[in-house]
């Protein structure tokens, strides 16, 4: 009797398990490739670095079966059967050995709706190396609430991911994104917010918790960058207000009611607050250093009654001198770009040649602005152009450079419009780009199931070595106060 009961229970559970297994084919691509065989993620005709992790993808079409994909590189050839094309790491690395400057030919065959279909494409392996580490914050696309967020570091050469800071080790604190100083693994900064928080500065692997706020500042530091010399950081201070659009699909708008610039002196533990970058009639934000550290680029707009006039708020991109002896931002300002749009996230390439920034129609939060486009300024010639050739159907926003200046990564909501994903792109010496490709994942279905945004993807040439335990230790430490610098 007991045996019959066990068999009945097991059979019922098995039937229930199997009941949901029907219809695996309904995962049609939200941002699939073109061509007779649609693949997702789209790795057709992309340029990749030789150190990239396996480009795993799947055939994202209804009714596709008996897929067979052959990758050919010189005299090497690998065939993978099945609709999920997922490489073993070692096999991929062997395949790519010595592939720099060569082209991989991919030939795919499958039966779609009972008919044979073939497709071919190529993957160019660039001789330019790309930094091997990427940090990002994983968060739901809420931007006004947080719960259980984490900052992670991914090795883009494989699928290893390390947690730099997470909710479990910080009493579910909010945390803001990790930025590298000059793409160095041992020079970086991120924030843990809340009563136990502070700015966590990583200087040569030594961690400090800093209170980058003085009485005269409107808020603690928010956006910013670290100086190449290691002594200074330039930041904005912002009163940030989240709000909603009326139109369905426009989603959220986040605006500043006030914003200024400030400089942190990490040697003297001082904040250098100068009136000409903290004007009441201007919003100043998103500062960054030039590659040589002698200039600061930032965004500036006339203040307006927000949110009523948010659509009239347009930020220009300007440059000012930076005095490396005292950390002062110069009063003289040169306009780098002004036009019918609003600039965010300027970032100078490490070789000093380029400045990349995003341009939206208005405002200071381009994450849901579908019109938002990356722009490229040639600092040698002053020429500025929109990078329309890599523009997705949704916003392309935060970006960072690889230390060679030949690769950059940017957050794009292309496809579903909701979840930001890191896309890599090659840039040659003439400023020509190649087709962007999304960060490869071990599972070809990762982006189908993923419900978190990759926020502020930032590239590093070496691992930071930071761990969640470090974040926990920092939470338990007193924060170093910063004083107001005398002018």
């Amino acid at each position: 009797m007991r045996n019959y009961l066990n068999i009945f229970i097991s059979a019922t559970l098995l039937m229930l398990m199997l009941a949901g297994c029907k219809g695996r084919d309904y995962a049609v691509a939200v941002d699939g490739s073109e061509g007779p065989l649609v693949i997702y993620p789209d790795y057709k005709d992309v340029t990749v670095p030789a150190n990239i992790a396996p480009l795993n993808y799947r055939y994202a079409m209804d009714g596709v079966r008996k897929a067979k994909t052959t990758f050919t590189l010189g005299d090497k050839s690998v065939t993978i059967k099945g609709t999920a094309v997922e490489w073993r790491l070692g096999r991929w690395k062997d395949f790519l050995k010595g592939s720099e400057g060569q082209t991989i030919t991919v030939k795919a065959e499958a039966i779609v709706d009972g008919k044979p279909v073939t497709d071919t494409w190529s993957i160019y392996v660039s001789p330019d190396p790309m930094d091997g580490w990427l940090t990002y914050r994983l968060i739901e696309p809420s931007y006004q609430m947080y719960n259980e967020v984490s900052i992670r570091e991914r090795c883009v050469e494989n699928f290893d991911e390390t947690v730099i800071s997470d909710f479990q080790h910080t009493d579910n604190a909010c945390m803001n994104c990790h930025i590298h100083g000059q793409q160095r693994g041992d020079y970086s900064l991120y924030y843990i917010r809340g009563p136990k928080g502070g700015a966590i500065l990583n200087q040569g692997g030594k961690l400090r918790k800093l209170t980058l706020k003085t009485a005269s500042m409107i808020s603690p530091t928010v956006y910013g960058e670290l100086h190449p010399d290691g002594r200074f950081g330039v930041f904005s201070t912002n009163i940030i207000i989240p709000s909603f659009h009326m139109l369905a699909g426009e989603r959220m708008e986040v605006f500043d009611t006030a914003s200024d610039l400030t400089v942190a002196d990490f040697e003297k533990d001082e904040m250098i607050n100068l009136p000409h970058v903290a004007r009441a009639d201007k919003f100043e934000t998103f500062p960054c250093f030039s590659a040589d550290g002698k200039s600061v680029f930032y965004c500036v707009a006339d203040t307006a009654a927000v949110p009523a006039q948010i659509k009239e708020v347009r930020y220009d991109l300007v440059r000012a001198d930076f005095d490396v002896t005292n950390g002062h931002i110069g009063e003289q300002v040169d306009t780098v770009w002004t036009g019918n749009g609003s600039v965010c996230h300027p970032k100078a390439s490490p070789d000093g040649r380029w400045l990349m920034f995003t341009v939206a129609d208005y405002g200071t939060f381009p994450l849901f602005h579908t019109e938002c486009t990356l722009y490229l300024a040639d600092l040698r010639t002053g020429e500025v152009r929109p990078m329309d050739e890599i523009k997705g159907d949704k916003s392309d926003s935060y970006h960072s450079w690889s230390s060679s200046g030949r690769w950059f990564v940017f957050a794009s909501k292309r496809g579903d419009g909701q979840y930001g994903k890191p896309y890599f792109c090659h840039l040659d010496e003439n400023g020509r780009t190649t087709k962007p490709f999304v960060l490869p994942q071990k599972s070809s279905r990762f982006y189908v199931y993923n419900l978190k945004s990759f926020n502020v993807p930032d590239m590093g040439s070496a691992p930071t070595g930071l761990t969640a335990k470090d974040a926990q230790r920092m939470c338990g430490m007193d924060s170093e106060p910063f004083e107001e610098a005398s002018r």
């Binding site: 029907k22 579903d416 909701q418």
Partner: protein, 472 residues
């Protein structure tokens, strides 16, 4: 030590206690605490996909999470949910009894087993992680019982060590701060509150009205009561059937200052109104508060919002997830872009008629402009009409009310009462004006009777307005 065969009453004590325990737990969750398990199902998602399962259920405690998520998908079913929970908590009692019987007599073993059952049963009335904890406890107890089956001591010790090592890997820590307090007691009012939330999500407005009646003194129940009447088109006659709170409580914002539960509830009203951006944000906030950030109810709402917004790619992402579940599969497939039939397309088109056409940025805490924007897009949006007029009334803003009532008139005794106040304040209480606003002259007499005995008209706007005047 082997169990000796039992005789007489003692033979049936164990099975009898188990049957009684199972029945009491089943009946409790089925009838006295019906919404508790539904809420758990809403915050859970079990996806039938190998890749998803491999990616989701890994690391310490993978088996406990897998089993719990699998079981919780049935928790919204009237009989199956209580049946599963009753089985689990009774299972704890049975396994404890079987372990103790190896060392103790029937009655001491039974006494401890009943205590273990009672503890597990009462813990199950707690927060959203409790079933996972019940599974973990049951798993560890089952391992101990299995280890005790071996005859020799060294075998028992070895088996215990191996089973516990497997348990640590597969079940995780026997304690986690998410598992909540050691002891829980059921709160029937809380069950009614989450019941309101569940019925609002199901759009069963009659049930919402029935459930809210006992708790109308709470902000949440009052909000749900108002929402149900707004959808049914009767808010203009029922708003003051109970004491109303502040104006913003009528249509609360989705904001960082409120709990995820309140935000989720508020988002339901914004969804009914046709404001998809606030509705979407409320769903994301609720999703963030679910255990693995994958609550089925909220993913379904995100799919609905994006379908209505025309964001097909985002909708497809959510529908794709739901299409691999047991209970949302049919719904998801019927709404998948490119696969919708005529009736689904027609329903979407009807709902889209309420979407705003003019854009501006707002923070949802002052809804008047938003409601006007919705009515500009669709003047026949009755939910928006009632909310607008009632909001004006709760703000004592009769000038705005008259402007809005003229532009967007709606049926309701209370609206006539507000008009009469305004007319009397402006010395316009004459037949011509009454006719202009469609007010029966007998209402003037009624207002006269109100002034003589206000307490007899507690459900009128006059009473509310008078109280506010006196408070000033």
């Amino acid at each position: 030590m082997r169990e000796k065969p039992l005789s007489g009453f003692r033979k049936y004590a164990g099975p009898g206690a188990a049957a009684l325990g199972f029945l009491s737990a089943f009946l409790f969750f089925q009838f006295a605490y019906p919404y508790h398990l539904i809420k758990r199902e809403q915050a859970n998602l079990f996806v039938y996909d190998g890749d998803y399962i491999a990616a989701t259920y890994r690391g310490m405690g993978w088996l406990a999470r897998f089993v719990t998520d699998f079981l919780e998908q049935f928790f919204h079913l009237p009989v199956a949910g209580p049946f599963v929970v009753a089985l689990l908590v009774t299972g704890i009692g049975i396994v404890v009894y079987r372990i103790l019987r190896r060392f103790l007599g029937v009655w001491p073993s039974l006494g401890v087993a009943v205590l273990a059952f009672a503890w597990a049963f009462l813990r199950e009335t707690g927060n959203i992680y409790t079933t996972r904890y019940t599974v973990v406890v049951l798993g560890y107890l089952a391992f101990i019982l299995a280890a005790l089956q071996f005859k020799k001591v060294w075998q028992k010790v070895l088996a215990t060590v191996l089973f516990l090592a497997f348990g640590v890997w597969a079940l995780g820590s026997p304690y986690h701060k998410y598992y909540g307090t050691l002891w829980n007691t059921p709160i029937i009012e809380y069950d009614r509150m989450i019941g309101l939330d569940a019925e609002v999500a199901r759009e069963d407005w009659d049930k919402v009205l029935k459930l809210s009646k006992k708790d109308l003194y709470t902000v949440e129940a009052s909000f749900c009561y108002n929402l149900a009447h707004a959808v049914k088109g009767s808010l203009g006659s029922t708003l003051f059937n109970h004491s109303q709170g502040k104006a913003y409580q009528l249509l609360p914002p989705v904001s960082i200052d409120r709990s995820a539960f309140s935000d989720c509830l508020a988002a339901e009203a914004w969804y009914q109104l046709g404001n998809m951006t606030v509705a979407e944000q409320g769903a994301i906030v609720a999703l963030q508060s679910s255990p693995d950030h994958t609550g089925a109810r909220y993913i379904k709402r995100l799919a609905e919002v994006n379908l209505l917004s025309g964001e097909d790619a985002a909708a497809q992402k959510y529908l794709s997830l739901l299409s691999r579940t047991l209970f949302y599969r049919k719904w998801a497939l019927s709404r998948m872009p490119g696969r919708q039939d005529e009736s689904v397309r027609a329903a979407l088109a009807d709902a889209r008629a309420n979407l705003p056409v003019t854009d501006f940025v707002h923070q949802s805490e002052k809804p008047r402009n938003v409601l006007l924007g919705l009515l500009e897009a669709n003047p026949s949006n009755t939910v928006a009409r009632h909310y607008l007029l009632c909001y004006d009334m709760l703000c004592y803003d009769l000038e705005s009310f008259m402007k809005d009532y003229t532009a967007y008139p709606a049926k309701g005794r209370l609206y006539g009462e507000a008009v009469l106040i305004w007319l009397s304040q402006n010395d316009l209480l004459n037949e011509q004006e009454l006719a202009r606003y469609g007010i029966d002259p007998s209402e003037v007499d009624r207002m006269g009777r109100f002034s003589q005995n206000p307490n007899a008209f507690r459900d009128s706007y006059w009473y509310y307005y008078l109280k506010a005047l006196r408070a000033q």
